[in-house]
Symmetry: C2
Subunit: 667 residues, 2 copies
Amino acid sequence: MTTQATDAGRDIARRLEKGQKRNTYLDLKPLAEARDLWFAAIEASGFALQEEEVPLPEARRRVTSRLVQAALSSPPFHAAAMDGIAVKAETTFSASTRHPLDLQVGTQAFWINTGQKLPEGCNAVIMIENLVASPSGESVRIERAAFPWQHVRKLGEDMVHSEILLAPGTRIGPYEIGALAAARVLSVPVCKKPVVAIIPSGSEIVPLMQAREEDLCEGRCWPEFNSLIFASLVEEAGATARVCDIVPDDPDLLQKAVRTALAEGADIVLLNAGSSAGSRDYTAHVLQTLGTLLVHGIAVMPGKPAVLGLVDGHPVIGAPGYPVSATIVVEEFLLPLLARLQHTINPARQTIEARLCQPLPSRPGMEERIRVKLGDVDGTVMAVPLARGAGTVTSLSRADGMLAVPAASEGLDAGAAVSVALLRPQETIRSALLAIGSHDNTLDLLDSLLRRRTSLACSLTSVHVGSLGGLQALERHQCHLAGSHLLNLEDGVYNRQAIRDNISEPVVLLRLVDRVQGLMVRPGNPLHIEGIRDLVREDVTFINRQRGSGTRVLLDCLLGREGIRAQAIRGYRDEEFTHMNVAAAVLSGRADTGLGVLSSARALGLDFIPIGVEEYDLVIPQRFFEDSRMQALLATIRSRVFLDQVAAMGGYGTEKTGQVVWEYEGR
Amino acid sequence: MTTQATDAGRDIARRLEKGQKRNTYLDLKPLAEARDLWFAAIEASGFALQEEEVPLPEARRRVTSRLVQAALSSPPFHAAAMDGIAVKAETTFSASTRHPLDLQVGTQAFWINTGQKLPEGCNAVIMIENLVASPSGESVRIERAAFPWQHVRKLGEDMVHSEILLAPGTRIGPYEIGALAAARVLSVPVCKKPVVAIIPSGSEIVPLMQAREEDLCEGRCWPEFNSLIFASLVEEAGATARVCDIVPDDPDLLQKAVRTALAEGADIVLLNAGSSAGSRDYTAHVLQTLGTLLVHGIAVMPGKPAVLGLVDGHPVIGAPGYPVSATIVVEEFLLPLLARLQHTINPARQTIEARLCQPLPSRPGMEERIRVKLGDVDGTVMAVPLARGAGTVTSLSRADGMLAVPAASEGLDAGAAVSVALLRPQETIRSALLAIGSHDNTLDLLDSLLRRRTSLACSLTSVHVGSLGGLQALERHQCHLAGSHLLNLEDGVYNRQAIRDNISEPVVLLRLVDRVQGLMVRPGNPLHIEGIRDLVREDVTFINRQRGSGTRVLLDCLLGREGIRAQAIRGYRDEEFTHMNVAAAVLSGRADTGLGVLSSARALGLDFIPIGVEEYDLVIPQRFFEDSRMQALLATIRSRVFLDQVAAMGGYGTEKTGQVVWEYEGR
């Protein structure tokens, strides 16, 4: 038993004594209601950002606090728009090719460069191209009359003194800087940059950069990095983030930290974590003690235990500890507040219409935020949900979009039309090939090389649902291609029969890799596992892959050949979705062995007992084969750099890589 | 004659001697060809950015230089997903409501908090809610079996050690920081930030912040601010901008400046201006002397005199002096280069389909970049071109989008479908009301107040084409409303006959303001102008408004009443498009008087001879009247703050402001 467990024991025992249970006191409010309540209280308290004047060169990214008028007309005088001579047009009216006119320099004609002020009395410019100067330079000859105001930028042509230049709430970018400079607004009225104090709390956490890896791996500490995510979100929103020292779970210390942050000039305080209703969750308590607690709990998953309130008229927000939940709370409450205080737009993500690839169950009464991968297939954007866990921070970094399931919904069916808030530029979605199917490590490598090769004009998005799921998705026109390694038990041939059974349209079967499948075991193979027959041993726990995956089909095929009943294998019903997760299960001791590819075993330093070589192919509909993105993918697959890097991963054969191994005519 | 004119004379005379004329040496290349040529040469020269490792907290906005793999699995062990006890699930299988099971704390059950590592041998967590602890705390009672891995976040559930986390060329945002932190990538391989040296040049320019206003107004100097625009564009693109001191037009000094910038670590040099082929345009010469001149002139308006080349293997770019041209050159060449060097995406602006409101003539053989205002009318995005001048920097800050007219085109017809690159979020376009018609200063004020009132959920975009043009645009469904003040000569009633003549659908006529029209004259009224009759005086020059404007109609009506012939007025054919530009023409001495509103005269400090009060109305189609944006506009018009601020501008009556003065049933 670890020290942590003892601490937890003391703590939880105390909690049980007091009858405190998790979420007991959470009073869930709908998101919009909670936000309105908070905003109204902030407004009622009179809280507002001050205005300040900043010199123009420092105004970039700042937000105007009121309307800005031109301080000077632009141009501030009638200016030459060309190099040449300035004249009074009326004096040139008699000039023609037959009767050229000589103008005296200094009285009738004045040398002038682009941008210069027209001399008094002049109202036109004649271009240097249309002049002949006398040898002495005392006069110039013209062969055509000038019309009034030709080649002249008139005073105020761009803007006139006092004209409204920028509305309040305008974020100042390069163009606004140009307009302000031209209008001689050298000092710009902007909102004071809001200062957000971020207070990380938790007795067990240590700053990320100081946490020792061996302590982390043993669970002796927990690295704090939510503050890094928040600081980045806050800075992107045009505010200043001040990350405070970590505060232990102690209500007095937390109160002190909030008071100090406010005393040191914070406009807003963000507490993280401790926002739930457990025995060590003090955020709500701190608010009740120091100020006003307005909201404790929102009907949104992830993000439920949010806390909103006010202390001394300053907005205070408490976010839960899981990074995804915390991020959603910051995005739904803090970022809109920052925009509101600066009277500017919360750069609302653009939403697009998409179709859901898989059914999405949801709990009624709770709004849900689901991260999705997106791909544009035949002009329809397909949305594939990512892992929902509140701790899966990669579901944020991997996501292309965020989908909101309304509170009233019991879930969405596959194929449902959904509205998705984009996390990446729409162009990126359009340029991506969407692969749904079996997982292989070379797909991630392929994506990286494809991006590099095409200067990011093309990318590969892959979603792992197993070989059979991929073929089904392909048949439903939900993706551009599918990775598959489905062995047919009868003829021992890969993929062809599965394609005949599942696909109606013509497809091309392209070899990606031959790969070695085998049993992964802990280093040194402590249980002396030698093959499939060992899986039935009493002392061996197996970790399986999900139904429909090629590896599962291979296993079942091998078991059949050996006459082994599945029920005889301990852990046969314990399933994982990727090779890497199987490897992780073995490494962690959760299982003693699992079937998978050599590259995954190698990546985690496991030993490996090869079972056989299988064919891992890409199934590509004929109608996409000539698509320029697909051709770029093929070129990448056939490139030297891909072959070399695949070889270096180990366990792969690349003899047939990039070859079309079969063409299916469809039915 | 000013000193400048003398300098210009010397300079231009020298140029004429040498036979050098403007653009003589420009060799215009199509944009894409020029860019490809430059990029190919840069690649051939071996120029590339170096890689560096930065600590994670400093990695925000940087771009990954290669693929990044997880350094640690997340979670790094099997972790509790709930507070409660950790157990081996198999020991709980007998528990039920009828037969509760007591587990010994410390041997069979282990207190655990969310996030902590499961003790050896445990594979499930039972939530605190489902426990009853014995009074001594030595055992806990459960009434339900735990299934294996319940409430456990398994090792590697989010990501497994060595999994690919980020592709190369990924710009690191808040989510990426979270993923890197969770995967314990504490040092991130990123591209070195490119350093762009910006060298402003020109003998007549002075730094913006140092230029004295009286010198500017007299044309004694020209403020340099392009470098501010460029620095902002460069920094937004994730690079470092180094603005150098202004260099006079001297080839030796320019060469020295380029050499110094490179010696001090610049990766890229941007020279501005001097990129054309005049006698003082040395950029091309500098490149020829120091390195390689690849491109001198591109077939794009604005932006034609661009210079591209290499010095010592470093990209060098020369941009022209006019801010709009210069900005387009930077955006079309430098920003794509910065993206390419960092192997990331040039955040290509999103493009949308729109319809052109007005015809757009264009010179064949030259690509054109036209700034447009946008509005979504009945689901169709309408594009209204802004001023094209290369010096009109407000055409950038006012623009919602940028439209490219291809080189082959001789122009586009009104109603043509065009593709527009967005300069603002699409939401902003959707939330804007588009007003096309007569200009009045209160419209700009109205926009500011509407934005503030609705927290930017709504805005008013106004385009000035005169009253009649507005009614015609309304009839063509190109806008949401039109400002109009068209007097009918026969009955002396405003707007109604013009609406009957031009509009078929039902509209509401809403009074915005009554306004005083009059003759603007220079302060002190030196020519003693007293009324319309003075316009025919020999010593008086008039500045007119364009045909179709309400003010022009009013003038013609007044002239008719007085029996004055238009031909008798000097300047009758000299036209401006807004009241403010008429005022500017009078202020500058270009004309002695013009007809316009008091607020414009006041804004520029002119004297004003009132002629009469006119009705300035908004014409609003019935079908838009209930639109929430329109209702927000109405509420703003009727607000105290609008009435007060309009009154403060002077020359306006607000008795009927916000009243529906007429409802037209259509025909």
